[in-house]
């Protein structure tokens, strides 16, 4: 891993086309800005990795039998309330 020290307001350029800027420090958090072409996917690593892992778990071979599921009940499966 390449390790560089930057102060808030300073930036790093990756591959000549992706710019990572340290925006500011907020206590223990570092606010990071990323400029890249919109085709370049940018994600928080842990979310990316957990979805990647889930995709691999989900992949099936030879389309197995699906257990009988009810799509929606008359009282539909509620998601936990959205944070507003």
């Amino acid at each position: 891993m390449l390790i560089l020290s930057r102060k808030p307001g300073e930036s790093i350029v990756i591959d000549g086309r992706i710019v990572v800027t340290i925006v500011r420090l907020e206590g223990e958090m570092v606010k990071v800005g990323i400029e890249a072409a919109r085709e370049v996917p940018v994600h928080r690593q842990e979310v990316y990795e957990e979805i990647q892992r889930n995709n691999k778990e989900a992949l099936t071979e030879n389309r197995p039998q699906i257990p009988r599921f009810l799509a929606k009940r008359s009282a539909p499966a509620q998601l936990k309330p959205a944070l507003r």
């Binding site: 919109r38 085709e39 996917p41 994600h43 979310v47 990316y48 957990e50 979805i51 990647q52 892992r53 889930n54 995709n55 691999k56 778990e57 989900a58 992949l59 099936t60 071979e61 030879n62 389309r63 197995p64 699906i66 257990p67 009988r68 599921f69 009810l70 799509a71 929606k72 539909p76 499966a77 509620q78 998601l79 936990k80 959205a82 944070l83």
Partner: protein
């Protein structure tokens, strides 16, 4: 006796089916860029999102509206722009279901596959509001 050798034309499994293109593949499967969607009425609302180049490999998927209510996926403007979704009605969502055995299954609500129904171009999108949804939302067996 001369026997004429007959070769049968192999029917591709994708005959008459639309190919859905994912320019970025799926997370962890970035090299797999073409899929077909197989829908057997007996399995509705579930469908198989099958790799075009390997018919043995497929993901079990379903539209989120068929599995949960009040799903409000927040897709970033950049993602919507990339998929050319001028109209939200152009977006067709499929969420990936994991079969867990014993009649259990979970669905990934954090990262749906978003497809433009006009262009058939899609992408697995990590929602802006992914934090409020589960990666392993349980589906109950009937």
């Amino acid at each position: 006796m001369i026997t004429a050798e007959m070769t049968e034309t192999e029917t591709t499994q994708t005959e008459g089916r639309d190919i859905i293109r994912l320019p970025f593949g799926l997370l962890g499967f970035e090299h797999v860029k073409q899929f077909v969607l197989l829908a057997n009425p007996a399995e509705a609302p579930f469908m198989w999102f099958q790799m075009l180049d390997d018919a043995k490999q497929a993901f079990l998927v379903a539209p989120p509206s068929s599995l949960v209510s009040d799903y409000q996926p927040d897709i970033s403007d950049d993602e919507a722009g990339f998929l050319e979704l001028a109209d939200p009605a152009d977006a067709f969502l499929l969420n990936i279901v994991t079969l867990r055995g014993n009649g259990q299954a979970t669905v990934n609500l954090k990262g749906p596959v978003v497809i433009n129904r006009r262009t058939l171009i899609g992408k697995q999108v990590i929602l802006n509001n992914a934090a409020q949804y589960s990666l392993h939302h349980p589906l109950t067996a009937w």
